[in-house]
């Protein structure tokens, strides 16, 4: 029983956490317009989240993120993946893909 509990707990943790990659372009990120309660990297930044499951053909690996920034420039883009997402990809033969992207546009004037 204890082993099962540990396994279930471990699996739940693994499903939630895997890896993330954050890319910064070097421009000044757009600031948040409201008082932010965030405590992470995005504190005080105007962060947007694209969190969706998309269906796409097996051989396609591109999604378009256009017209979301005023001047088309991103300050930060972060892609987050979890073990659960990888499992979903496996069991749907690559057709259902979870996409979770955090992005901040460059500050404009």
């Amino acid at each position: 029983m204890r082993i099962l509990f540990v396994l279930a707990f471990g699996l739940a943790g693994a499903l939630q956490s895997c890896y993330s990659v954050r890319i910064s372009s070097g421009c000044t990120p757009a600031p948040s317009t409201s008082i932010s309660q965030r405590t992470d990297f995005y504190r005080d930044l105007d962060v947007q989240v694209l969190d969706t499951v998309i269906k796409m053909p097996l051989l396609t690996n591109q999604i378009d993120l256009q017209n979301v920034c005023d001047q088309g420039e991103f300050a930060v883009v972060e892609y987050r993946n979890t073990f659960g997402n990888i499992l979903r990809l496996f069991f749907t033969f690559g057709r259902h893909r979870k996409v979770k992207i955090y992005y901040v546009c460059c500050k404009t004037q």
Partner: protein, 532 residues
């Protein structure tokens, strides 16, 4: 038309969580869109009109109205009890031309920046035009107006602080047409009535008022625009090495760096090339040290930078800046804290054992804006910083280290930073000695609520008061960094630090602001520092 966003709030906090404090409303004014108002001067004036209407609302309601930058200050200087106005969206930039200027400052150039421009975006903008700010702080997220409110500095000992590059200020001091003032010093006039007319402001040339408003503690009106002098783009070559404490103190006392290349131990002695025509060590642009107050065997890490003419073919230093021993102590401590799961007892033990890395890094080159790069740590930190005449640095440091190690205050996990900065002309600049040695303790505080946090903050407050008491007792004149933690209610603190200059600043504020506007631009910090 600029339309202010208004958010009702119960409380607010600094970026590094030194509060929270109660407040009622958070405002933010975005500029009118370029589509609706193509001309940037019109957008600038439109924003000024909107700011005046907000001030008018506060005046009518009998409430206070506080401009806030990036809320990086650790003291409660940015706090206002009623309405807070974030200014980061006011970020227009203008290159000033001949009819707007008294004289061509070539090879330098004057620019007008709205107060909400962040230091990083100013650096990027100037670089595209072949220019650079003359100095900046350790990182780049502050707003320009915010840096002036507190007197942000780096360690450019022959340049000064950010405010020392300011040639004129556009202040909004009230709701009326006469309350838009373009203020410049009479002894060094930079702009003409032409610029004032364009901005819808009246030109005032007055030394006393200008130098008082220059470090205005956020209380001399709203800083709508800043005329800043930039210089041709340059590079800095940065070395990080170790230095004996006695040698460090000798350099700070004498300001003679002729032997620095031989005294600072760097990787492969690469710094030995930094010599002048006489074969002596060159004069550095920047000189800073980090010290572990709990272990005298830990190396004194020294960061020294030399100014070079700009060239485009240098490797981008940003990746190395990120991974090297950081210029930013807060980042260093934050990373250390994360590595040890934010355990304060574990960190303090670590400091006692010796925590400073022995930096063995290649020198790097970059522009000012690249070397002093982003600070990404968002945890809860404190910092206490005081300035003394550079010739008093040794006794002040000795006293400071002894107080940090006083068991009454518990262990404060942090590192001491030591910098030197040229005197500022601003009336309330804490860099007020011919060369000020700024000695600071940057550290972490429990990122929790409740009794543990309160006890830690109480200990920190008592520690800050004790340092002041000892400096006064040792008859070492000192100032405190406006944007950092301190016991700001310490009796007669401002009079002790600034003498008659404190009175002069208050009189200037009385001239700039009417009595009702002084109430609007007042806040608890000001009341603590200048009690009635």
């Amino acid at each position: 038309m600029a339309q202010t966003l208004k958010q009702n709030i119960q409380e607010w906090d600094t970026f590094h969580k030194n509060g929270p404090w109660p407040a009622k409303q958070w405002q933010n004014t975005p500029l009118a869109s370029k589509q609706s108002m193509p001309d940037d001067v019109d957008r600038y004036k439109d924003a000024a009109t909107e700011i005046q209407s907000l001030i008018s609302e506060a005046l009518a309601a009998g409430t206070t109205w506080r401009p806030v930058g990036s809320r990086w200050s650790l003291s409660h200087i940015a706090h206002g009890s009623d309405t807070l106005h974030g200014n980061k969206l006011l970020n227009l930039k203008f290159e000033l031309q001949a009819p707007q200027l008294q004289a061509d400052p070539a090879p330098n150039k004057l620019f007008l920046f709205q107060g909400g421009n962040q230091i990083k975006e100013i650096g990027i903008y100037l670089k595209k035009l072949g220019f650079s700010m003359q100095t900046m702080g350790e990182s780049n997220g502050q707003t320009l107006a915010g840096t002036l409110g507190t007197g942000v500095h780096g360690s450019a000992w022959k340049t000064g602080s950010i405010q020392d590059g300011v040639r004129a200020l556009h202040l909004i001091t009230g709701p009326g047409p006469a309350d838009s003032v373009l203020l410049q010093p009479l002894n060094s006039m930079a702009v003409t009535a032409n610029l004032a007319t364009q901005l819808g402001a009246r030109l005032v040339s007055d030394d006393t008022l200008f130098y008082s408003a220059l470090v205005g503690l956020g209380s001399c009106g709203f800083i709508m625009g800043v005329v800043l002098e930039a210089e041709p783009l340059f590079l800095l070559r940065r070395y990080v090495g170790t230095l004996a404490l006695n040698d460090a103190l000798s350099f700070i006392h004498s300001l003679d760096f002729k032997t620095a290349p031989w005294k600072i131990k760097t990787l492969n002695n690469r710094i030995h090339h930094e010599l002048n025509a006489q074969g002596e060590g060159k004069e550095p642009f920047h000189f800073k040290m980090y010290m572990n107050p709990y272990n005298s065997n830990d190396p004194l890490i020294t960061e020294i930078m030399y100014k070079l003419p700009y060239r485009s073919n240098y490797p981008n230093p940003v990746a190395l800046v990120r991974s090297s021993f950081p210029s930013d102590t807060i980042n260093f401590l934050g990373n250390l804290s994360a590595k040890h799961r934010n355990s304060i007892p574990k960190l303090t033990r670590l400091f006692a054992q010796g925590v400073m890395p022995n930096p063995q890094e290649e020198p790097i080159e970059g522009t000012l804006n690249e070397i002093f790069w982003d600070s990404s740590f968002t945890g809860s930190v404190f910092a206490f910083a005081f300035g003394v005449d550079h010739r008093q640095a040794a006794p002040a440091l000795q006293l400071f280290v002894a107080t940090i190690n006083d068991p009454r205050f518990g262990l404060l996990p942090g590192a001491i930073g030591i910098r030197i900065v040229k005197k500022s002309k601003a009336t309330l600049a804490f860099t007020r000695f011919p060369v000020t040695c700024v000695i600071e303790l940057d550290g972490l505080q429990p990122d929790t609520k409740g009794s543990q946090r309160k006890a830690a903050l109480d200990r920190l407050d008592a520690f800050c008061a004790e340092v002041c008491r000892q400096l006064i007792s040792a008859q070492i004149p000192f100032t405190l960094h406006w944007g950092k933690n301190a016991r700001w209610t310490y009796p007669n603190l401002v009079q002790h630090m600034y003498g008659s200059a404190a009175t002069e600043w208050q009189q200037s504020r009385n001239t700039l602001l009417s009595a009702p506007m002084r109430k609007v631009f007042s806040n608890p910090f000001l009341q603590d520092v200048f009690p009635i």
